[in-house]
Symmetry: C2
Subunit: 385 residues, 2 copies
């Protein structure tokens, strides 16, 4: 396999973008990405685009055709990839494998979701759960993650205050991210006193409904070197699945698919979590960030909550998590999220993260998850010093 690097990133503003249709969200991100990479449209050979459910949101499928068409990339090989909220991560992995295979040199990995356009977002997102054995009986994602939260509280003593600390920290970071949906700081009281969604999760424990697009361009390391780019290598790519239904898992207080995907990524990279400096983690709900930091091995089981409350995941903490603001504050256009995570890791590794820049990080991790943990990708990027 050839070594592969990220050589450019592009990201729309995230938010309620009522004036911006699906096709424009992708075209804008692709244009910014190619400009950032300094690569012409005629050099791009292929694209993988993550999107969860443009069919249910805006009755548009065949994204490979429509999105490359409107992005000025007509003719290239292009494929839309779906793995619920892990669609972006899955697209990134497919693009990585195509470059690694030697079939193509310049491959675009994109993600996009148009969620604000009239459709019932909760019903659309519920298609990531088991429609016949979960959704039919009335459960949607806030309910599923509430069950995970209740189990984690019962087993490890995790508290609402610890979950609130995740939201406060991610809003602190999002306030420093000009692309974030919510560029505002919040207090613990705001989270704890917010309207309840599904106990113990309140409104500020939940990621929002977001429109957005994101793209990154991949190329062989050799090619990146010739172009004089900073060398940001993909050193590990892990991907795994689990049962779609939460009720089929042994323990609600864990999300095993995260550990399995991470194990595969670490094995390929030949390193462990201690060799990684920071991570973008799938915080679709505050409890999710806590459980995922445990599954990734950043903290021991049951210690994710206390660590968040102690500030260990803050920008100046021992292991910064979601410097971008995460899904909670940056926003969660589901298909774009996995690519936006890669954008943030790349920005941090190349010193372009502005007011939220970490001090000379060398390795960053992006963990993107589908459903209640039915699928997950983990990617580890390393910048050459």
């Amino acid at each position: 396999m050839r070594e592969v690097a990220v050589i450019g990133i592009g990201l729309t503003k995230f938010g309620e973008l009522w004036d911006t249709p699906l096709r424009d969200l992708f075209a804008m991100a692709a244009a910014d990405c190619l400009e950032d990479a300094g690569v012409g449209r005629d050099q791009v050979q292929s694209a993988y685009i993550g999107c969860m459910t443009s069919g249910m949101f805006v009755a548009q499928e065949h994204l490979a055709s429509i999105l490359t068409d409107y992005a000025g990339l007509k003719g290239i090989a292009a494929t839309r990839v779906e793995s619920a909220c892990a669609s972006g991560g899955a697209a990134f992995r497919a693009a990585y494998l195509e470059v690694a295979s030697g079939a193509s040199d310049f491959v675009l990995a994109g993600g996009v979701e148009k969620m604000n356009d009239g459709a019932d977002a909760t019903a659309c997102l519920a298609a990531a759960a088991d429609q016949e054995y979960e959704v039919f009986h009335g459960v949607t994602f806030p309910g599923l993650y509430a069950m995970i939260a209740q189990a984690h509280m019962a087993k490890y003593g995790t508290t609402p205050e610890q979950m609130a600390a995740v939201a406060v920290k991610n809003h602190d970071n999002g306030a420093r991210n000009p692309k974030a949906q919510f560029q505002m700081e919040i207090t613990k009281d705001t989270v704890l006193n917010a309207v309840r969604v599904a106990e113990p999760l309140g409104l500020f424990d939940c990621s929002p409904v977001t429109d957005g697009g994101a793209c990154v361009l991949l190329a062989p390391v050799e090619v990146a070197r010739k172009l004089g780019k900073p060398i940001v290598k993909i050193i590990g790519s892990g991907h795994a699945t689990d049962t779609i239904a939460l009720h089929d898992r042994e323990d609600f207080a864990s999300i095993p698919v995260v550990g399995l995907a991470a194990q595969r990524a670490f094995q390929q990279a030949g390193i462990g979590i201690k060799d990684v400096d920071f991570a973008e983690v799938h915080d679709c709900f505050t409890i999710s960030e806590i459980v995922c930091t445990e599954e990734l091995g950043i903290f021991e089981r049951g210690k994710g909550g206390p660590a968040a409350e102690a500030g260990e995941t803050a920008l100046d903490g021992s292991f910064p998590v979601n410097t971008s603001g995460g899904l909670k504050s940056k926003g969660h256009p589901v298909g774009a999220t996995g690519i936006a995570q890669i954008c943030e890791v790349y920005a941090q590794l190349t010193g372009r993260a502005g007011d939220r820049q970490l001090k000379n990080p060398r390795r960053g991790l992006a963990q993107n998850m589908g459903g209640s943990g039915g699928s997950c990708t983990v990617h580890i990027l390393e910048v050459e010093s």
Copy 2:
């Protein structure tokens, strides 16, 4: 890139399978495929599953998780791939690239669609066209292909009788395929006198609404050899896109994306169409088979119709097309179609095509198309003699 082979195939019956849900369609095809390959579930590392719009048909996304879960493949890396009716071909290509890259040895490429479950199939399929600039104004796929047919008739003198010959031939072949939706022969009069759908296309010019699943297993040629399998190599993989909207193309009497994808596949294979013995071609409508045989170079432009009428594409013709019965008679579960085409090419190359077996074919081609030609894949397979 490593050389890659197909080492097993599995296919459900195609048809109106009211008793069989989406997840079972895939699980059944995967089980048959793995049994055919003689490979255990614990050896499979990854899967790519083509599906056009399970979201709109049955409100289920996150197929990577639910389908691997119900197929007993929980844990593997899995990704759902969508490119409208070319979803299966796109899944096959992604699986091919993963094996070629060296990342995995055993990768499943599947396709599935559950179209008979209450949803409005015409509206769901219309999501493969431009929802805002085509569908909004009332056009759906029979109308789009009728415009292609009208243009081809005007430019080349193609006749309804020539189009009918495609349907008759594909039903002849489908009558010999136990997996086909319509195992019955028809006459030219049946086609010409059928109820009109969109002039000049009648009911028998159109492929049906179908439930079905299909899988093939890929492995490196070296591994296939060690397992003592017939060596059916993927010698060319071409993939291309075009404008999503028909009105943005220069000439309605051609479908350029097919020629572009074919050119890429032939370039990789280092051969031309004259070196290929037969093809599965995307006959979503009879006119589509005629145009595609021209785009592939099997016949000169404008000669596809006369060739079909002269029997050149029949089982005993100079270049057999759609020995399986094609989309027209075998059925067209959109996400599964591209993989089912590969199953037929493999069956023919390994002498397993029963009553429709060709005499010792060496190379076969599968052409799978999305929308009105917004995307296309072309794969060329060769059996080692």
